[in-house]
């Protein structure tokens, strides 16, 4: 039974890692903490719902629709909630992101209403039974897509010219500008990439978590925990911390207490931070804040 719990926790952990990645991408590139990222994930899922259910598109076309629409939303976010504030104190950027979060949440409520909605899975609702361990096909898809995204991002940043330009911009914008990199475009591209990740994450979580206007708050809370214990800004840390959190939550709810599962999970996370103040991978948090 414990294998079943660990496998289920891994699938949840993959979602945590995936939703945290877009948040970290923006943070690493422009140093902005984006509290609206959960709402971007929610919108990615809702746009998939609009395309697949309202417009009757097949899922692959709905995915493209969501990616295109989220591209525009990423650009919009950058142009209105980040770029004009980039030289202001960090608290202004944070407040702008909170404002965007409220706007997107209320926008979703007005467009899609308060009832929970579902996007069908690319692989259906089937269940695999491997030696008595049951595994929903959609969970297998989540693990595969997460692996693909994290390997893909490594290759993108390490092996492509545009990836290196993005990394150079993230490390030192002034130096990147002097090297002839169009920094503004790199910032726009960062927000677009984060919006694509949000779209993918939204598509993956909508069949199992369902879509509600408030789901973004839940997502950002989990993402923030993962980012902190993973090592603020560390991409490998996200994967380890996401899996750690996902498995811990399932095991605590199953074997210790379901009523205080979040309390116990938080205590475990605090204990981790006491032993490893910098998180699993990364700098000390105090140095980043």
């Amino acid at each position: 039974m414990i294998i079943q719990e660990i496998i289920s926790g891994v699938a949840i952990g993959c979602i945590y890692a995936l939703v945290s990645f877009g948040f970290v991408l923006i943070y690493n590139a422009v140093g902005a903490v984006n509290f609206a990222y959960g709402e971007l994930v929610m919108f990615g899922g809702y746009l998939g719902f609009a395309a697949s259910v309202w417009l009757g598109f097949p899922l692959w076309a709905a995915m493209i629709f969501s990616l295109v629409a989220m591209t525009l939303l990423g650009i919009f976010y950058n142009e209105f909630a980040y770029y004009p504030m980039r030289h202001r104190p960090v608290v202004v950027v944070i407040i702008a992101s909170i404002g965007m979060s409220v706007l997107l949440r209320n926008g979703a409520l007005a467009i899609w209403g308060p009832d929970a909605l579902k996007v069908n899975s690319f692989v259906g609702d089937g269940i695999l039974n491997i030696g008595g361990v049951v595994l929903p096909q959609h969970n297998v898809l989540i693990v595969l897509v997460t692996a693909f995204v994290f390997i893909g991002q490594y290759l993108f940043f390490a092996r492509t010219s545009i990836g290196r330009k993005l990394e150079a911009t993230a490390q030192d914008q002034e130096m990147a500008r002097l090297m002839g990199i169009k920094v503004r475009w790199m910032i726009v591209l960062t927000f677009v990439l984060a919006a694509w990740l949000a779209s993918i994450a939204g598509f993956l979580l909508a069949p199992i978590w369902f879509l509600e206007p408030d789901i973004g708050l839940y997502i950002i809370l989990k993402a923030f925990i993962v980012i902190v214990i993973g090592g603020f800004g560390s991409v490998p840390g996200l994967v380890v911390a996401g899996l750690f959190l996902g498995v811990t939550e399932v095991l605590v709810a199953s074997h210790l207490t379901s009523e205080y599962k979040d309390v116990i999970s938080f205590l475990i996370l605090i204990a981790v931070l006491m032993v490893l103040p910098q998180g699993f991978f990364g700098e000390k948090i105090a140095e980043r804040l």
Partner: protein, 381 residues
């Protein structure tokens, strides 16, 4: 001429007074009906107001109440307490003798002070337990509260499904905690203790831990008390984890949008509710549903049929007691009424509906089909 003019004037005045009296005595009976007709809350409110309109039309077609027509004064409470207060003021301005109110407890709580001050009977279909525990003698509940429905579905699990090992899953909100107490209280009366109780947060997206601990406890039934989205996740994950145990769920699982989320995992699930107008085999309910659909081109829900019963109950009270508000309230307290969904009789707290039904859903041809399996009448009198 002067004299005859005075006589004529006097005659006209007298005629006017007489006609005035006649028109007063033949005046319509004003009954208020306030509910959410706009905003996102409208789907539920509109269906219930439809029921009040249908009841008033049927009474008027039969000659009204003691020869007087029922004038239903409808106002919109939208989705706020401010709008609810405005709607109340408007109907009170028309001197209504009773009010059919909104379902929303946040609006009802806001209306209570003025309703008490004005001394006007207010009836609604809200299930929130605390509404009838506020010592408001003018508020009458027409829907079974959780004390009724939780008792009914726990009894069903034990007595009908012959469960001996009951697992209980509850949400950590007030709704879940009060439901948990009621389920355990009923189990105790039936000589049982739950083999396991699990808790989850309203916003939790994964119930694997809770369901796996339930699987280890090896129950023969799961009873859950949860809100719509978490109900959907529980039911879906129970199926995904291959836990083949009957599930008796709270009323959120009757909502059509939940069926869309849960899909085939709804197959075999039992759910408590107050009524099931679209699928109840009772010929009277079927006939009413047909009339409703014909008149309003939409299907009624369980609240709508109870609202219809409530309208008929209050019209009967007016027929028997006249249009004096205090006398109507007294009549409502002292009499019982056989409605379509069940029999209504107000207890000390003025809860009028003490019945519940259990529905079982099956998955056929890609859609969820309900079947009424049990009716409970837990009338205290």
């Amino acid at each position: 001429m002067k004299h005859s003019g005075k006589v004529l004037g006097g005659a006209i005045l007298a005629l006017g007074l007489v006609l005035g009296c006649v028109s007063l005595s033949l005046a319509d009976i004003q009954v208020g009906a306030i509910h959410s007709l706009t905003t996102g809350l409208a789907p539920l409110g509109q269906r219930q107001i439809n029921s009040a309109i249908l009841a008033a039309e049927e009474w008027n077609a039969r000659g009204g109440i003691n020869g007087k027509k029922i004038d239903l004064i409808v106002e919109d409470t939208a989705d706020s307490t401010t709008m609810a207060m405005t709607a109340l003021d408007r109907v009170l301005g028309k001197d209504v003798c009773a009010i059919l109110g909104p379902i929303w407890s946040f609006q009802l709580f806001a209306l209570f002070p003025e309703v008490k001050k004005e001394g006007v009977p207010l009836l609604s279909t809200s299930g929130t337990r605390a509404l009838t525990q506020k010592n408001n003698p003018w508020y009458f509940r027409l829907y079974p509260h959780d004390g009724i429905t939780k008792r009914a579905y726990t009894m069903f699990a034990v007595q009908e499904l012959k469960a001996k090992r009951v697992a209980v899953m509850c949400v950590t909100t007030e709704y879940g905690k009060s439901g948990h107490e009621l389920i355990l209280e009923t189990l105790k009366e039936l000589g049982l203790e739950p083999v396991i109780v699990t808790w989850h947060n309203k916003d939790d997206k994964d119930m694997t831990g809770q369901l796996m601990s339930i699987k280890r406890a090896n129950p023969d039934v799961i009873i859950s008390q949860a809100h719509p989205a978490d109900t959907a996740i529980i039911l879906k994950q129970q199926r995904d984890l291959g836990i083949q145990v009957p599930h008796v769920a709270s009323s959120a699982a009757t909502m059509p949008h939940i069926h869309k989320l849960v899909g085939p995992a709804m197959d075999g699930v039992y759910v408590e509710a107050a009524a099931l107008p679209n699928y109840d085999p009772d010929p009277k309910i079927q006939a009413w549903t047909k009339r409703y659909v014909k008149r309003f081109k939409t299907k009624p829900d369980s609240f709508a049929i109870l609202y219809y019963d409530g309208a008929n109950f209050v019209f009967s009270a007016i027929k028997a007691a006249g249009s004096n508000r205090a006398k109507i309230a007294k009549w409502l307290r002292e009499n019982r009424f056989q409605g379509l969904a069940g029999q209504y009789v107000f207890d000390k707290e003025q809860n009028g509906a003490h019945f519940a039904i259990i529905v079982q859903y099956s998955w056929k041809d890609g859609r969820v089909v309900p079947r009424l399996v049990k009716k409970y009448d837990l009338n205290p009198k």
